[in-house]
Amino acid sequence: MSEATGKLAENIMHFARVLRQAGVPVGPGTVLDALDAVSAETLRNRDDFYWTLHCVMVKSHAHSILFDQAFHVFWRKPKMLEQLMQMFFQQVAMSGNQEKAKQAGYRRLANAMFDQAHQSSMREVDTGAIEVEARYTASQREVLRAKDFEQMSAGEEAAARQAIAKMRLNRLELPTRRFQTSKGRGVIDMRATLAASMRSGGAVIDLKYKKPCRREPPLVVLLDISGSMASYSRMLLHFLHALMNERDRVQVFVFGTRLTNITRQLARRDVDEALASVSSAVEDWSGGTRIGACLAEFNLKWSRRVLGQNAHVLLMSDGLERDDDGVLELEMARLKRSTRRLVWLNPLLRYDGFEAKASGVRKIMAHVDEFRPVHNLASLDELASALAGSGKAAHNRQYQPQKWLRQKA
């Protein structure tokens, strides 16, 4: 290997570090691949080099933009490298101080999600948490279960969050097209039958059976985080975190004025860490609502990617839409057509006197399979078991949208 190649190898290694810092997952294996690709290559011009590195280092379309920027900065101006390295060292130093970073993240979360008053009172409760739990009686638990999230004190909220974390969800399993061995009847499994027959000498052929595997369908959650939902959305996020621990294939999106996919952020094991990273990823906390526009974005960009394989959709929103054009109705209809089951969770529906005055409510209601109020622990519990329902129609007649619309007409 010539001197020049040695330099190139080093530079590619540095470039990989740049990408890693920028959030593109590039491992040492990839660097070796890149070196391999570059040496296999008859490097003719810059473009060839670009696409060579691109196809080895980029494994997702979303990373293309990061790669593009990094490439142009890194390989155009050699002197930029030093400046960049300096920047990394600063960043490394910052992230090295984990304790501090965590606090900062926590404060951001607190600012974004809880107001200051809550925060201070929460701390007091946290220190005495064990004591509170020890005195917890059944009747208190009942009171807590029925209490609206909106009216909870900070202490009650903390207790509710613990209750949510302990919640166990029933499983809804649908048959898939894959098979597993079955003790009882089913389809004859010829391979297992013959294998068993050979084991016993081939004289007797004992039939073995297989049956379809059952598996939970994917779940897609669309959570409204606009101002009007603020007191519910933070509880619901705790619920969703618990849900993600229980089930695989859950995708979570939040929307206010724009749509954000927070699945990766919410997948962290620790609930506080998860919510901290969610809050830094989302920019439109407690703002206005553009349900129609956000659903349009979901339908256009995500529905084809996440609604496969019989996905169920939970739409968590109060349905108070600002922009009143035909968009909401159109997009709800499209969403309904591309999911197996669409459930609408609306905290406002707990009021018996809740009228479908907001036109958004009526438009959403016309296109859902089932609706439920979610405003307290009891209703969340109910939802958890409803997720395991048959998936065909609302079990409970009171949650059927047609009936509700007729009543309110």
Binding site: A37, D47, W51, S60, T176, R177, S197, G202, V306, Q309
Partner: protein, 301 residues
């Protein structure tokens, strides 16, 4: 006919071009590297941008056999890799019984290769490295993806009754995905990745002229400009290159020499496959777009 592997990106470009596949340099680079490094090529992109076509063209250009595995939900080993021919095995057992063969011999006998039905993935490990196309991988489930990991890194398959089958010469593997679900990172890591986008106007015109040599250049220019304009507009599903080619052959069948609003309206169903999109474009919008591209083309001369 057996062609050698291309030795440079330019040769790859020529190889694809020889089979009427007008590729941009990015695709040619990736294909060249995949062949050179013996890595699977993972192509992602919207429907109808020519992902599957690359495998077909490559097989044709290299003079290799194309083996295609269409993925679907519930795809399992017996339909993707191999299956034992149970009815033949049963007959063999009965025959052995009649002849009084020993059990140990019988077992060896009925798990012979002669009783094996080879499915695409096993077929791809035989011969002199054919082109293996695993089409629309996102349609199958994670379990199958995990199975592919061993196959794609070692180019071997283990059959419990028979042993391990290893490819003498690894196949050229092309995997495509429409992104209806994310494919796991572990699989992508073993592949060279490329996002196949919509072609530029100039390249699309080249593609149209190469694939539909009979059409007038004027019509081709207008069609390409119209489709390119559609891709800029706010539609649920933008038309792919496949739709462009379908449309131009439809227009050719109708003996159209130039686009006019009525023909566009009548044949919009060839381009757009969602009712909402058609409703949005029909009538005045299509006319407006048509007028705009015609004036632009006129300005260009």
């Amino acid at each position: 006919m057996k062609n050698k592997l291309p030795a440079s990106i330019d040769e790859t470009l020529a190889l694809l071009g020889g089979a009427d596949y007008i590729a941009d340099r990015a695709i040619a680079t990736v294909v060249f590297l995949a062949l050179k490094m013996g890595r699977p090529l993972f192509l992602e992109g919207e429907a109808g941008v020519g992902k599957t076509e690359i495998a077909k063209v490559l097989a044709e250009g290299l003079g290799k056999r194309l083996i295609r595995l269409q993925c679907y939900e519930g795809l399992d080993i017996s339909s993707a890799v191999y299956e034992w021919n149970y009815s033949r095995q049963m007959i063999a057992i009965r025959m052995a019984e009649a002849e009084g063969t020993k059990t140990s011999e019988l077992e060896e006998h009925i798990y012979d290769e002669a009783f094996l039905i080879k499915r695409p993935l096993l077929q791809a490990l035989e011969g002199d490295g054919p082109v293996l196309l695993i089409d629309e991988l996102d349609r199958t489930d994670e379990a199958f993806e995990a199975y592919l990991l061993e196959l794609l890194s070692e180019y071997q398959v283990s059959i419990p009754e028979l042993g391990t089958v290893k490819a003498k010469q690894p196949p050229v593997v092309i995997i495509t995905s429409n992104r209806t679900r994310e494919v796991h990172d572990a699989l992508k890591r073993r592949c060279l990745y490329h996002w196949v986008g919509y072609p530029s106007a100039a390249r699309e015109l080249e593609i149209v002229m190469a694939r539909q040599p009979g059409v007038s250049e004027r019509l081709a220019r207008e069609v390409v400009a119209f489709v390119q304009a559609l891709r800029q507009s706010d539609l649920f599903k933008h038309p792919g290159v496949a739709e462009t080619l379908d449309w131009i052959s439809a227009l050719h069948e109708l003996d159209a020499l130039s686009l006019d609003p009525k023909t566009v309206n009548d044949t919009l169903g060839v381009l757009l496959k969602y009712q909402d999109d058609i409703a949005k474009m029909e009538g005045s919008e299509a006319k407006r777009m048509l007028d705009q591209i015609k004036s632009e083309l006129a300005a260009l001369g």
